[in-house]
Symmetry: C2
Subunit: 214 residues, 2 copies
Amino acid sequence: KMSLKVITRVSFYYEALLKLDLPGDSYISSKKLEEITGVSCNQVRQDFFYLGISIGKQKKGYHVEKLFHALRKVLSIDKGASVIVVGAGRLGRALSEYKLFKVRNIQVDALFDIKEDLVGTVVDIKGRKTPIYHVDKLGEYLSENPNVKIALLTVPESCAQEILDELVELGIKGVVNYSPRILKLPEKTKAVQLVNDSIGASLYKVVYQTYHRK
Amino acid sequence: KMSLKVITRVSFYYEALLKLDLPGDSYISSKKLEEITGVSCNQVRQDFFYLGISIGKQKKGYHVEKLFHALRKVLSIDKGASVIVVGAGRLGRALSEYKLFKVRNIQVDALFDIKEDLVGTVVDIKGRKTPIYHVDKLGEYLSENPNVKIALLTVPESCAQEILDELVELGIKGVVNYSPRILKLPEKTKAVQLVNDSIGASLYKVVYQTYHRK
Ligand SMILES: NC(=O)c1ccc[n+]([C@@H]2O[C@H](COP(=O)([O-])OP(=O)(O)OC[C@H]3O[C@@H](n4cnc5c(N)ncnc54)[C@H](O)[C@@H]3O)[C@@H](O)[C@H]2O)c1
Ligand SMILES: NC(=O)c1ccc[n+]([C@@H]2O[C@H](COP(=O)([O-])OP(=O)(O)OC[C@H]3O[C@@H](n4cnc5c(N)ncnc54)[C@H](O)[C@@H]3O)[C@@H](O)[C@H]2O)c1
């Protein structure tokens, strides 16, 4: 079982590969990965060595298809992961349709909302019509789909805690919280992973670097 | 001038403070910050010491209002930063209205798009009506607003590179790219910061931890 630091770096490598969109039978160097992810090529090579990913005999770099395969396995998404989105507003729908989720084998199977004009409609995810249900149907949906263990929380901050409590109650094991509030997990739920995500961090770096160059 | 690692941690502390929403005259401990950001309380204390932020005489922890002030200064957002959003779709609008941007002194001053039903409308950002202009007006807008140096790129990946090229041409100095593609900066533009952001990383961690606990 790997440390979260390694998993985080592995997700950066995987993300970089996805965004480069290289042909499967091409090669990528640790130097290129350093350029894109900011992780030193030494650390990259060290990680791959530790993960049993080797450079081919011809030392051209790492074989892209093989690397994809290995990284997916490490991230446990080689079998694919089904997630739900609660809060089918702008961020919720932008996330559901985000191309990289599909390519990553992470599939949004359903969305939930309370707005009448959203409930009962579908979101088109690469040709697959994904339904938006009423949030009251969460319990029913999760008992019929016990393989769904992860939820993305994109509701307004005023109801984020209450929705989280319900999800935990219904057996969800992992939640990514996008609302701008620190949420609490009930005492006895040690087995639930709660992560806060935010599109903010990069913006700070850019602001800082931009204003410190002049 | 600080290393990006320190800036990144500082942005986590700032973000954590924002999301905790504590009264300005209360105190926060390094332990609490460790709990929320995952940065060890030793590192937190070390960073604050380095940044000249001290614990009050009563050792209650760090004074929240003073801490906010100091962190904003470090991040260069104490004077506020004006940014524009190009691509006023779901992600673009979700970002513009994101409560934490306003609180962070990062202000979205304008959005740009090509869709007829969006151009000419306004986005309500905490009561301030923010206009959506046609992307053809980018040049005109930036020459009239030379203080705007940063753009958030939330257009479809097919036109992301072309829009980036134009922004660089027009003097933009910092770009956060949200499209799922690695963009290239023209050779001679060493002074432009380009950062790729993605709401993906946290999801991988949650998937990994969720499937490795069973
Ligand atoms: N983390 C980030 O970087 C970031 C960026 C932008 C927005 N946000 C946050 O993400 C959230 C969504 O932002 P948005 O711009 O998409 O807002 P939005 O208003 O477009 O979407 C919120 C949706 O949640 C639905 N909703 C409300 N109560 C609900 C409930 N009880 N159950 C199910 N659905 C419910 C609403 O009907 C709406 O469709 C907000 O909390 C916002 O602050 C985070
Ligand atoms: N980084 C992430 O985590 C993440 C998550 C979700 C989506 N995305 C990406 O963000 C982008 C936007 O996603 P979305 O769901 O908001 O899509 P969207 O279709 O709702 O928004 C795109 C907007 O860009 C506008 N546009 C198109 N061409 C333009 C041009 N030449 N100039 C100006 N505006 C133009 C469109 O009219 C539309 O309003 C996509 O590239 C998507 O893949 C990233």
